[in-house]
Amino acid sequence: MALVNHLTASCWRNLQGGRMHKQLSVILRHLHKSATSEALEISATGEEAMPQRLITPADVGGTRRIKSLKEMPGPSTLSNLVEFFWRDGFSRIHEIQNEHRKKYGKIFKSRFGPQLVVSIADHDLVAEVLRAEGTAPQRANMESWKEYRDMRGRSTGLISAEGEQWLKMRSVLRQLIMRPRDVAAFSDDVNKVVDDLIKRVCTLRGRESDGATILNVNDLFFKYAMEGVAAILYECRLGCLENEVPQETQDYITALHLMFSSFKTTMYAGAIPKWLRPVIPKPWLEFCNSWDGLFKFTLIHVDKRLSDIKAQMEREEEVKGGLLTHMLVTREMNLEEIYANITEMLLAGVDTTSFTLSWASYLLARYPQVQEQIFAEVTSALGPRTVATADDIPRLPLIRGLVKETLRLFPVLPGNGRITQDDLVVGGYFIPKGTQLALCHYSTSLDEENFPDASDFCPKRWIRKDSTDRVDNFGSIPFGYGIRSCIGRRIAELEMHLALTRLVQRFHIGVSPLTTDVKAKTHGLLCPAAPIHLQFTDRETTS
């Protein structure tokens, strides 16, 4: 889900809240993660508090003055407010990243009232920050999420939890869905959903006069992604890709759309102080309503599986199943934690995947030569009819390259957040513990320094000559890096690899005359600013 959303939400909230960051003006050579706060105990008053032992003669040799946040460049508070709240900068957050980087450099600060955000738009500095992470990194202030859970007596999940609670759940879930070879076991389940995707393409294009066009492919991919994630998380099919979508599924889609479409109002929901809610009740109500809808859907499916398991156990039958069954039987997490995590994982795994699939097919259509290269690779590896499984993906490097390149050009999360848990020195600036950082992935992934001809769509750039051919690619880390990176990464990759392989194998994808140049806009996530209409024509070999 939209972390930029949370980031900006917390900015807005703090605008009201008034938490001033202490301006520290200290001269430090270098501060490192856990060592810093404990060893240094920098006083909040900003006094110089440099223990002697941290300055070694070797350090002094290369000493440069560590600058304070005060000295960091960045747009003024006023221009930022105008940009974001008057000129709707939220939908252009990704472009503003680039503009500010050009203007202010690789690290700059922005103020939203008293809330300070330090943006980091350089792959080396992003690497430094992520490599210095502790055991439970924090992305952004998630208080409004937590408040809703408390109100309804629900648990937090991987997105909304912090600290020990987060680590406990992450430790359980990463052992289940992070290892590529474990996730490969979902290949057959995902392929059944891909079967339905292909059928759906045929049904939808059959309704158009040219027999080829799919209008707004994102709608199709949204349903594919939702069906795919649900097949894994709920161990059941929802019927998203059927002609008649079941009512409860339709209700869920409505709740999900409400969550995404009311991005701004839900953002303000957490931002508007509680005492103002009687006056401006709508944002908070919508926020709660959409969460109610999402949880309701999870409860229906999880409870159903739970009662099936209980019935099987009573009959003394062997209980078989996948991920959800495992969670329900082992109870490494309690039931509320299971509800919360299933809900958050479904929420996080739908439009992220669908936007990426939309962009990937759009790019294939816009770059027919690239599409032909990928088609050639797929047919030579698999022939015209073999259905790819996870085991085939290593033989399809261009399919992997396609996904990586799509996410480089359109990183679905254009920026990610971190709240520093130690005092750090980044880019020559002293950044005190508790500072909100914005890691500018959009900017770094379109940086010529990291990716020559950065605006070109070139999946080949990701192909290695051999296993020692390496790139320092911190410039494009669409799933993040480290222990708080995307937990659904391998599932999402599997869903995208298998769907794209089959689409390329089966169809020639072309741009519909109805589609012009589609730009990206930020709506929490980076998404197509206009509907993408594409034509899917059968490859001769499959007819």
Binding site: H30, H32, A35, K67, G105, K106, I107, D124, L125, A127, E128, R131, A132, E133, T135, E164, K168, S171, V172, R174, Q175, M178, R179, P180, R181, D182, A184, A185, E318, V319, K320, G321, G322, T325, H326, V329, T330, R331, E332, I393, P394, P397, R400, V425, G427, G428, Y429, R464, T468, R470, V471, D472, N473, F474, I477, Y481, G482, I483, S485, R490
Partner: protein, 166 residues
């Protein structure tokens, strides 16, 4: 993946406590698909089945330990309670590259195939070399007896050297 192994991966006592109940919970009779078996047994291995591994830590000290065939090098680090700061943060789930190890060329060739996912994570490893691998992806076998693995220099020591931004 074997939860038994997973449990052993959890390095600190707090996590051990948090997850300590899981092994008992698994006897409830759930069967997952074969690929997702969480109930791998542990073989009783004779000590001469063990594989000797030498680690060279960041201070250059050599530490010699023994591991069981089938264990990953990350398992060995955890089982032996070796104190390499920040090592294996994601518990072998290919989400980070903190279990980065450097080998000599001959050893590197014996380590077996590298997956694309491991290569992607290695790209993000600090101090990458041509003979780098992730410890979580290397399984011990008798043929690796006596290998030497070097822990790369810590990120923190020179973290600011890449800076050139101001």
């Amino acid at each position: 993946m074997a939860l038994a192994t997973a449990l052993r991966r959890l390095s600190d006592a707090r996590l051990r406590r948090l997850c300590g109940r899981t092994a008992a919970g698994l006897t409830a009779g759930a069967r997952l698909p074969a690929q997702r078996s969480f109930t791998a047994g542990t073989h009783a291995l004779r000590s001469d089945d063990k594989v000797t591994v030498h680690f060279v830590n960041r201070d250059g000290d050599k530490i010699t330990v023994k591991g069981s065939p089938g264990d990953s090098l990350l398992d060995v680090v955890i089982n032996e309670d070796l104190d390499f700061d920040g090592y294996g943060a994601c518990e072998g789930t290919l989400a980070c590259s903190t279990c980065h190890l450097i080998f000599d060329e001959d050893t590197y060739k014996k380590l077996g195939a590298v997956t694309d996912e491991e290569l992607d994570m290695l790209d993000l490893a600090y101090g990458l070399t041509d003979t780098s691998r992730l410890g979580c992806q290397i399984c011990l076998s008798k043929s690796l007896d006596g290998i030497m693995a070097r822990i790369p220099e810590s990120v923190a020591d020179i973290r600011q050297s890449t800076d050139g931004s101001v």
